[in-house]
Symmetry: C2
Subunit: 500 residues, 2 copies
Amino acid sequence: MDKDFNTKLNEFKTYLKDVEYLSGAIAALYWDSRVNIPRKGVAFRGETLGYLSAELYKKQTSDAMRDFIEYFSAQADADAVTRAMADRAKREYDRSMKIPEERYRAYVVAVSAAEAAWEEAKEKTDFALFKPHLETLIGFNREFIEYWGGGAHGYDRLLDYFEPGFTTEKLDSVFGELRNAIVTLLNGIRQKPKPDDSFLKSKFPIDAQARLSHYALKKMGYDFEAGRLDVSVHPFTITLGRGDVRITTRYYEDELRSALYSCIHEGGHAIYEQNIDPALAGTMLMTGASMGIHESQSRFYENLIGRSRAFWEFLYPETQKEFPQLTGVPVEAFYKAVNEVTPSLIRIEADELTYSLHIIIRYEVEKAIFDGGAKVDDLPALWNAKYKEYLGVEPKNDGEGILQDTHWSGGEFGYFPSYALGNLYGAQILNTMKKDMPDMEKRIASGDLMCVNNWLKEHVHKYGAVYLPGELIEKVTGEPLSAKYFIEYLNEKYRDLYEL
Amino acid sequence: MDKDFNTKLNEFKTYLKDVEYLSGAIAALYWDSRVNIPRKGVAFRGETLGYLSAELYKKQTSDAMRDFIEYFSAQADADAVTRAMADRAKREYDRSMKIPEERYRAYVVAVSAAEAAWEEAKEKTDFALFKPHLETLIGFNREFIEYWGGGAHGYDRLLDYFEPGFTTEKLDSVFGELRNAIVTLLNGIRQKPKPDDSFLKSKFPIDAQARLSHYALKKMGYDFEAGRLDVSVHPFTITLGRGDVRITTRYYEDELRSALYSCIHEGGHAIYEQNIDPALAGTMLMTGASMGIHESQSRFYENLIGRSRAFWEFLYPETQKEFPQLTGVPVEAFYKAVNEVTPSLIRIEADELTYSLHIIIRYEVEKAIFDGGAKVDDLPALWNAKYKEYLGVEPKNDGEGILQDTHWSGGEFGYFPSYALGNLYGAQILNTMKKDMPDMEKRIASGDLMCVNNWLKEHVHKYGAVYLPGELIEKVTGEPLSAKYFIEYLNEKYRDLYEL
């Protein structure tokens, strides 16, 4: 590389550092708003976050940024990291800049109104209150799809933002296979008796739950010297900067599984962030490869590890120590209880098996909106029919139906599929991991969860966003994403659990 | 006012809002760094704070700021708030801009080195390690004094920053009187037996201390919906923005007084901030009038209220409830124990009576440096002689002598006097308050601390920084600052306590 290239690269990295500082400050203030803020400080904090976000947007869309992107995009023989950095910068820059500024401002106003309307509609279980706002947001997104290149499958433009490289063609194929496999399993399970979970109907003191969550997180290799666990209304993971990746949860005294699994899930996200190569600082690549890959890591820990027999062989003695009422309950019974399958209406309460069906329904409905010309008026009925068909349950009202999630009111169309992709990525990665570590279950059962952490760090985490999700999964597993591994995993696990 | 004026005023307020947002973000990150941050996140957070502080400095010293200041400084017939805003903006702008940029940068580097050197010197109790750094910082400050106007009493230029309008001429007079009065009292007290404080040598569980601190703060009127109480190594108060003024403390299991009085002290600072008229938002005046006035409010609650008989009549039953070992200890004995006088070497451990002597010594030494040509080599001896003379105690080494406080290593010369001024302001304000509320002691004894909060809000707090400290004290008490009221207060209280 010539001298000019290196000078330019240093300039770009210096520029991106300021972007990181602003992002880190915004993340810290956001975290504080969810965990600490006193009621009367909320309004000013909102204004402060608005100010900093506008400053960040200015930096991300400046002429300087455009010049850097132009320069580095033209360097075809640069190293992989530099090219990935330029690609990512260009993708985000184009995404923002292709929308005329006044249209984007109008959209922000519309989203804000839609969020308020959704809250009221959800509370009153009245879709009519949200409907005009949903129509407006869909209209904006249709318009944006045209700015971003349009085409016959406009929905692809939305998918591409959250999971670069993925299209409806690909998703139709993997989600179709997955849906059929789950529905078949579910029909079998419906004929079988429910496992006994009476021992979970009890009081589990919150301080004991917190100790158990800390214990599990430490064993997983979540670094408490580079993070914290706090309490907030909704659990989340957030990176405040290098060496500071925090997670939150909430505890219910009468529910043992909820906080523990939310900690394991958020811990999976956080371990990913903690394990990224620090040399990627200042390149825009010190983050997850995509929403779907990020979700694959949280679900890897939550389900593939955290709902396995081996995991409970290791964690159950500690659990019994914290909750003496479990003395006498065999580990096998506990393992069955944390894997209970119950088709339900609410995604966030779904079990491992049926979870993906909630996502696939949302995917099919979004596709119908953007590529199938579905009318907003017809969405509740379409929604309910799909729940009936796939899960065998029907919403009594729109609150537990089409209004259940807030994402649409925030304009997030195309985001949901990444949740189900996470399951597919995870199982495919697990398949490779097991080949590399044939004794992995034995190690987990003995409490050595670091073998998982180390393997993921070495094969997935350390790369950050250097590879696109499709590239990464091929690099890790030697083949493109397929539904096969997750379907095999589900069949093996649930045929065993329910003796199908 | 003409239309142009109002347009300009709105523009200026909009500009100052951004300054408030940046300051609020910095405060929130600083608070988080002291209360929450995991060890490995410290380095990045430092960089982030550096970035945001530089952005704030740019806004405070921009051409736009200069133009606003020029415009509003020329509006002689503007209202009081606008004039105060322009004056304050000009004072801070001049303070920064009169120092050549490269000299200020060099100073920042020197301060950073001095802070590290002070830490080592303090640990090793070796003044020689700090001496060259102290000489450098004094040299810089002598240079800055010239930029700021020089004159025969250069030290006045430093004092003026922390306590606008105050000079060595004024301080020599009030501090001289005060010093003589305290030394006389102290000589009397030395002849008397110490009060019994054996009941304070006990274990005070930390959760009970925290409950008592919360109880006292609520009674004082600290608004927990607009703030929080957390734990940090050193107690502090910080305003994160409108409706968010937080305080911290630390608890020692074998010391009951320490955390409680630090909460009452910081609570006094915080109540001041919480009570400022919100209409002053966006004017630079929504803050304390000066360091000294701020300190007067914290000391008002800590000493004039919190170490009074009436206060303990109210708080003692709750204290006994939390700490059953105090059952049988009369409230009068407890009152005497929290007012024990013990001349010591360390300012931050000093009692109410001797505290001001520590400040006066620091003041006299700083004056000797900047106006008296004292050599740095001679400072330890000068320091030790003054402790011997005024307090009757002598440092065994420089660690408990001249090295005790970090302020000089941060370049803060001229800051200390505000601590003692706080005592003088407070007693003078108390004198007026008692005239307004002759039954105030009875009300406090009955638990009505809100009468104090409301009076201070109405007469002091709500004005924020609209008035300079000298103006404010005259407005509140009808006369200029005098040492008389504090001396009267000390004489009355300590002659009674020690039967002199």
